[in-house]
Symmetry: C2
Subunit: 115 residues, 2 copies
C-alpha cells in the first residue's frame, strides 16, 4: 500500500497522528497560513503570529515533527544568522477506509486498569 500525499509520505499511523496533532492548535494553523504565503524567519514569524519566540519554537517543533515545515539557516546580507521556515506541500485525503487501515496496526496495551 503506497500512499503518497503531496510531498509528505505518510506510512505508519504514528505519522498520521503526528500530522493531526500538529494541526490541532489554532496557532499552528495560523503559522501554516502565514508560511503558505512564503517562507519566513523565526523572529518575524513570531511577530506575525503574535506569540513569543520560545512558544513559537515549541509549535514549530511539532510542525517539523509532522514534516509539515522545514527549516534552513542562512546569513542575511547584513551578516546576521537567520533561520527560515518553509511550508511543505501536502494533500491529505482522510477517509473512513484510510483510518480503518491505520487502525489495524494499532494495539492498545495497558489502559483500562481494573475492569
Amino acid at each position: 500500500m503506497e500512499n503518497f500525499v503531496g510531498d509528505l509520505n505518510l506510512k505508519r499511523y504514528e505519522d498520521y497522528v503526528n500530522v493531526f496533532d500538529a494541526l490541532s492548535h489554532p496557532a499552528r494553523i495560523k503559522i501554516i497560513g502565514i508560511l503558505a504565503e512564503g517562507r519566513q524567519y523565526v523572529s518575524e514569524l513570531a511577530r506575525l503570529v503574535n506569540i513569543s519566540r520560545p512558544l513559537l519554537y515549541m509549535h514549530l517543533k511539532k510542525l517539523e515533527t509532522a514534516r509539515l515545515v522545514t527549516s534552513t539557516m542562512e546569513l542575511s546580507d547584513s551578516g546576521k544568522a537567520m533561520k527560515f521556515y518553509a511550508l511543505e506541500d501536502f494533500d491529505l485525503h482522510i477517509t473512513r477506509e484510510l483510518l480503518k487501515q491505520l487502525s489495524e496496526n494499532i494495539i492498545i496495551e495497558n489502559p483500562g486498569g481494573k475492569e
Copy 2:
C-alpha cells in the same frame, strides 16, 4: 465558500481543530477503525479497544464533539439499555489552501508575554 466534506459539514476553523484533535490519539483511531466495520455498543467497544469504559467515554466525547461519531440508546431484546455508537461518513481533503483560508480567521490574542 461552501465546503462539504462527506456528511461532515465543517465551516469554522474550530470545527477543523476539533476534528484534528479527535484524530490525534491512537485509541481514537482504533475506535474509528472498529466502528468502520459497523456500529457497536459501549461495553463491547471498550473490550474491543482494550480500555476501560470511563476512558472510552472520554475518547468518545472528543469524537462526538468533532461529529465523527453519533450515539443512540436502545433496548436490547433482553431488555437491557444499550448505547450504540456509529461512525459518520466523511471525506476530508486537507491542503495548504484550505489551511490558509482557515488561518485568516485566526487571531492569536495574548500569548507571547514579555517580548
